[in-house]
Amino acid sequence: MRPAAAARHVRTASLAAATSLCCLRAPAAQTIGTIDIGVSTVRYDGFLPSSAASLTPTLTWARPGAAVTARGTYLRFESSRRSLQGLVAAALFTPPSLLPHRWRGELSLSAGGSSYAHFASFWHATAEARLHVVAAGRGAWIGGTWGRTSYGSVPRPVAVASVGVWARRSWTTVTASATRSIVGDTAYSDLGSTLHASRGRFEFDGSLAARVSSRGAGHGVYGEASTTLTLAERTALFISGGRYPTDPVSGTVAGRYASAGLRLRTAMPRPYAIRHPQLPSRSPASGDGEPGLTTRLEVQSGLDGTVRLVVYAPIAATVELAGDFTDWQPVSLRRVGEVMWEGALRIPSGVHRVNVRVDGGRWTAPAGTTRVTDEFGSEVGMVAVP
């Protein structure tokens, strides 16, 4: 495959990622962007050691049951040669009602390309299906991958079978897996394990794997480790190192490395304490089938420590809110749209009780809160503020 073609695949993958991330919108979705800026010393098998500077932007869009990740890496070696990599991967889980209890299906797609200087280029496109069985704190999966990959010649078929188990205790998650991969004439089997631990501002990842049988992809034992220290909401330091095997699917050449760098990220998405911004016909507060169309409250944590309270009231001249964070004194909300009213208050994390009234009428528990009977002959809405 010619370099121009590889570059085109890289661009195509990047464009696909950007398009996917721009077009996907869902009420519960979160998008996180990071840029890793680092320096490394690396020695690819069969090559001399080299130092390199790297820039790795990553964009991840996720909502319950689906995730899309787009990542690019620009490497500049001390020889002034450059390497460019691009990848977009998406995973979609089956809805809970589709399979029996504890079983979930997962379909993931991955496409990417890479080029080194002007004489080595790869691209791949694969699809993987996994079947998960999950219990509290542990699970297992079986999966198969199919696709195509290319390294400077005609595309080769990819087929991978995998099984794995995982368990989680407190801050630690461990996995163990076995894979058998066939890429054209190349075939190899890997046994591997990973460890992930997260505590406070520290995050640790380690892996240990062995290529136990191989035809054309090398043998050996491999291990990597990385630690990330979060400095502030948008910054973190990382160090990593180890040895990884050749990956004929994505075109990675075996090598050993040590890296350190800085991770910059977009502000961590603050979850909505109350979710859907639309006006649904049912909600926990109207789960008995009542049309919850009178008022709806949405609580959003702001970055400055304030909490934004938004009330959707279709027909209203005034909207007031009272809760245990206002000393139960009515607070008038400001109209910001045809049916939208808002106010910003400092509300401590925890469980809070709140009521809303429209045009000076009776206090009601708005949709979007969990409605409970209060001790005073009416109802009150409960919200959890993170």
């Binding site: 319950p64 809970p96 504890r102 979930r104 999966w141 490395y257 401590p348 469980v351 009521n355």
Partner: protein
């Protein structure tokens, strides 16, 4: 020297103690919104809670809620008394180191139907603050999720999940319920999905890998 010192310090200590008691017994000015009899009853309950080292702010807020809703004095006092009892039970279950926010969330969970045993198990399962797990537990139960199902799910997640993960979990349950899933099934499914999603993050690349 010593008698002189004693003569000086004793009155000073006595004054401090008296001043402290007076300050403690001063009625919260926000309770002025209650009628005199109700105010006295609520102030007595607040003082009693303070002596028992329970948080008093939730009690004041409950009284103010009653005042805003124009409840009778008797109903307000009963509500405050019941909340004080719930706070005490929550403290017994969560331990004396529980924060006011944890106790308030624990009281809400107990009132929703969770058992003290569940609160104790949560305390043992999680080292970080329990406010959000308790809030989610109370929220789930109040939403119609059977206590056992809600407790099992929250207990399974509490040990490792961040507050944001718990809110996300609660969001998934709410969405599935809104789409028609039975609350218990929605809770189990969301907990399962949370597990799978955490595990399936196979797309993550190690930082700095060239």
């Amino acid at each position: 020297m010593r008698p002189a010192l004693t003569r000086t310090l004793l009155p000073l200590l006595a004054a401090i103690v008296v001043a402290g008691r007076t300050a403690a017994q001063q009625t919260d000015p926000r309770l002025e919104r209650l009628d005199a009899a109700t105010r006295a009853a609520v102030a007595a309950l607040v003082d009693s809670a303070r002596r028992a080292l329970l948080p008093t702010e939730p009690l004041v807020q409950r009284a103010l809620e009653g005042a805003t809703k124009r409840a009778s004095g008797e109903v307000i006092a009963t509500a405050v008394r019941r909340l004080a009892a719930d706070l005490g039970k929550a403290r017994d279950a969560l331990g004396s180191t529980a924060s006011p926010a944890e106790l308030n969330a624990g009281a809400a969970a107990l009132r929703a139907g969770a058992s003290p045993t569940i609160l104790t198990q949560l305390r043992q399962a999680r080292r970080e603050p329990l406010t959000m797990p308790l809030a989610v537990l109370a929220d789930l139960v109040a939403s119609g999720v059977p206590v056992d199902s809600a407790a099992a799910a929250v207990l399974a997640l509490a040990a490792r999940a961040r507050d944001a993960d718990l809110v996300e979990f609660r969001r998934a349950v709410e969405r599935d319920i809104a789409l028609g899933a039975p609350p218990a099934a929605a809770t189990a499914a969301a907990a399962t999905a949370a597990d799978v999603l955490v595990n399936a993050g196979a797309r993550q690349q190690r930082p700095g890998r060239p």
